[in-house]
Symmetry: none
């Protein structure tokens, strides 16, 4: 028993999009222990798609299709599969109802072309799409051959895979030996420095430990093979604990935790509140904090003081200091933090001012220079200087700046 991933879409043959669906599905198949030997990409062309189906059906037993389930005429994955196996398409009334409902929710009319998405090969089961209008199918057109179809939109595909395909595959006996991982996340230490600190762990066999770096942070992925998630966790837990102890304060969280979610957790525990004053990040710090549902409990808001007039008018930054030290300075960062904390009556005020680039740098204040200000209880106020340089580019510099600000607050909350 082995599998093949077939991605349908001319946009991949033109190089318009990166085929991240194949990677996601490959990881998922590995986790379930399903052998996976081929990936094929083919365009929106029924003849070539049929040839691809013929080859795949002759060499593997599980075919996983993504793409080509949309409402437009060039979306023809489902009808081509049905045609290949000589089975008619039938309209599924539940799918029609589901599509109509989704259009109604968005206050739009369902168009005739959307009806096409409800056509399912006779005998196939619908693989529901909770977030979009294109359902997939699970189908055994003949013995020893199982077909899955998914839309090409990654977010829709992920949910359909997790909610329906995985339980189905498990019911077929897959996933008895699984690979289970925990990702430990670190801020404030480089990949090679962390790898050296934990070098003894990088040769382990079960669990394995592998470092990854990206977007300013480093991760250690601890992966164990076992018969259940719980058994894998038992292998992972002691190693993870040792790694966390070695890293100390540079470790901030695991898996889906973010610096914003960890800061939120700490503020919730201490029953304190936070406000932000942002210049070069322009709202990005507030956005990170409010990605978490329920953040209104501790995050009260902030001021985007992009223009200096806003720094003075809404945050009470001293115009003379602005002149003397410049908008990108420790003094102004501290006054921004105090200003927002005071005006919003929060326990903590966190500020960012910097030069994200690519323009606006000078010899004295180069692109990548960023100050973070932190104001807290009992009039405490501090600032932190960063020189991120130019190589990261504007978007990443802003991302790293916002996270650096959160990391300072995190360390402060953990060490008082």
């Amino acid at each position: 028993m082995s599998s093949e991933i077939i991605c349908v879409g001319t946009e991949m043959l033109l190089g318009d999009i990166l085929n991240s669906n194949a990677q996601y599905l490959a990881q998922q198949l590995a986790q379930l222990g399903i052998p996976h030997y081929y990936q094929t990409v083919v365009g929106d062309n029924p003849e070539r798609l049929k040839q691809v189906i013929e080859i795949a059906a002759s060499r593997v037993q599980i075919l996983i299709f993504t793409g080509g389930l949309g409402p437009t005429p060039d979306d023809l994955t489902c009808e081509t599969i049905a045609d290949f196996f000589g089975v008619p398409l039938v309209e599924d009334p539940e799918v029609i109802e589901d599509i109509a409902e989704k259009f109604a929710q968005r206050g739009r009319e369902m168009t005739p072309s959307n009806r096409k998405q409800a056509l399912i090969p006779q005998g196939a089961k619908v693989l529901p799409n909770p977030t979009g209008t294109a359902p997939g199918i699970i189908w055994q057109p003949r013995p020893n051959l199982t077909i899955f179809t998914f839309p090409g939109v990654p977010s829709e595909m992920y949910r359909m895979w997790e909610q329906t395909a995985v339980p189905f595959l498990k019911s077929q006996g897959w996933g008895q030996e699984i690979i289970h991982s925990r990702s430990l996340r670190f801020w404030g230490i480089g990949e090679s420095a962390l790898a050296e600190k934990v070098s003894a762990y990088l040769n382990l066999l079960n669990p394995t430990v592998a470092p990854y770096a990206g977007k300013g942070e480093v991760r250690l992925r601890v992966s164990a093979k076992a018969t259940s998630a719980a058994a894998a966790e038992e292998l992972i837990a002691p190693i993870a604990k040792q790694l966390i102890d070695i890293a100390g304060l540079d470790y901030y969280g695991a898996d889906n935790e973010t610096l914003a979610s960890v800061v939120g957790k700490l503020l919730r525990i201490s029953r304190e509140t936070l406000s932000v004053a942002e210049s070069c990040t322009g709202g990005g710090l507030g956005q990170m904090l409010t990605e978490i549902s329920g953040s209104s409990e501790y995050f009260w808001g902030g001021v985007i003081s992009y223009d200096n007039s806003v720094k003075v008018g809404l945050l009470g930054v001293n115009p003379e200091d602005l002149d003397k030290f410049g908008a990108v300075s420790a003094t102004v960062a501290e006054q921004m933090a105090i200003g927002v904390k005071t005006r919003l009556s929060t326990t903590w005020g966190l500020s960012i001012t910097g030069i994200a680039g690519p323009t606006g740098g000078t010899d004295e204040k180069p692109v990548g220079l960023v100050y973070v200000g932190l104001a807290g209880p009992k009039d405490e106020v501090t600032s932190f200087e960063y020189r991120f340089g130019t190589i990261r580019g504007r978007a990443l510099t802003r991302h790293v700046s916002a996270n650096a600000a959160l990391d300072n607050l995190r360390r402060r909350l953990l060490t008082r």
Copy 2:
């Protein structure tokens, strides 16, 4: 004449890496006008690789391999290709010399396993690798079949492609016709509705027109085949103009333009300024506006009024109206817009208040209910109601809300 990309490497079948090589090569093939119909990924397994070669050699005339050229025993692309065509491998003395020199430069000894990288099928030409030790080949094992091999390391592959493969392909007559595209972007219309409006264009052959949807917007990709980028543009321009005319105000920009950049362009032209007041987006609207370097010319800043106390204290929202209509209401959205516009002394004030979910909804005010407020010159103020429902999830609802706000300002700036 058409081509297939064959990527060799078990790491792709495990989902450890994203197959960016396929996207790069696909873009390059499109630019050269080389038809490209299939991409195949196969593991480091000689039997399966041979079957893949057999299938590819029967359906296309140009095979482009990446991966499996390294010095380790599981790197076997070159020897498997030679084996398939029944041709012996011969050691290339120039390659041996090149590898030895590269090792010397790095102050390392060449290992015996690196000798393997100098084995080339008899009759093949070496495709030099300026930055790494693994050379590729250009080979015609039989008439009407050309094989290229490249290492899997992207940076090495790019240079080898550009420096040797492209000149070779051009010498064979390719690249006289290229494919050039423009992506038209639309907001406020669904994929199927737009596809129906422009249905007559979806069957064009040169340029072609294809719809794509994602993250709340729809795109039409107009792609032309021609002998130069300028000639392709001449084919694209009249069709693009017609599509834009049909779509009217739903069209907002092309290629890398965003709603934020388009609004910025319009504000720059009218020499006006903007401030924002954000509740459920928590800073995301400000972040979008400030993604653009130079946005400080027209974007002055804003207030993140996540907590109601900030709506009252910093934006001057009437507490009685907050009680009466609730924070998520047209009235409060309008007062937020007026408040931020007045306090920051900008021409326009744009506000967002809503329930991003997943919690916080009620029967009367469900998750996905969002109000956008827009305040402008001469005390004009309006608001817009959206019911995005729950299916998009928190992150996408926030993204769509911020873009919907920008879209309203865009339409207002274009229709006065």
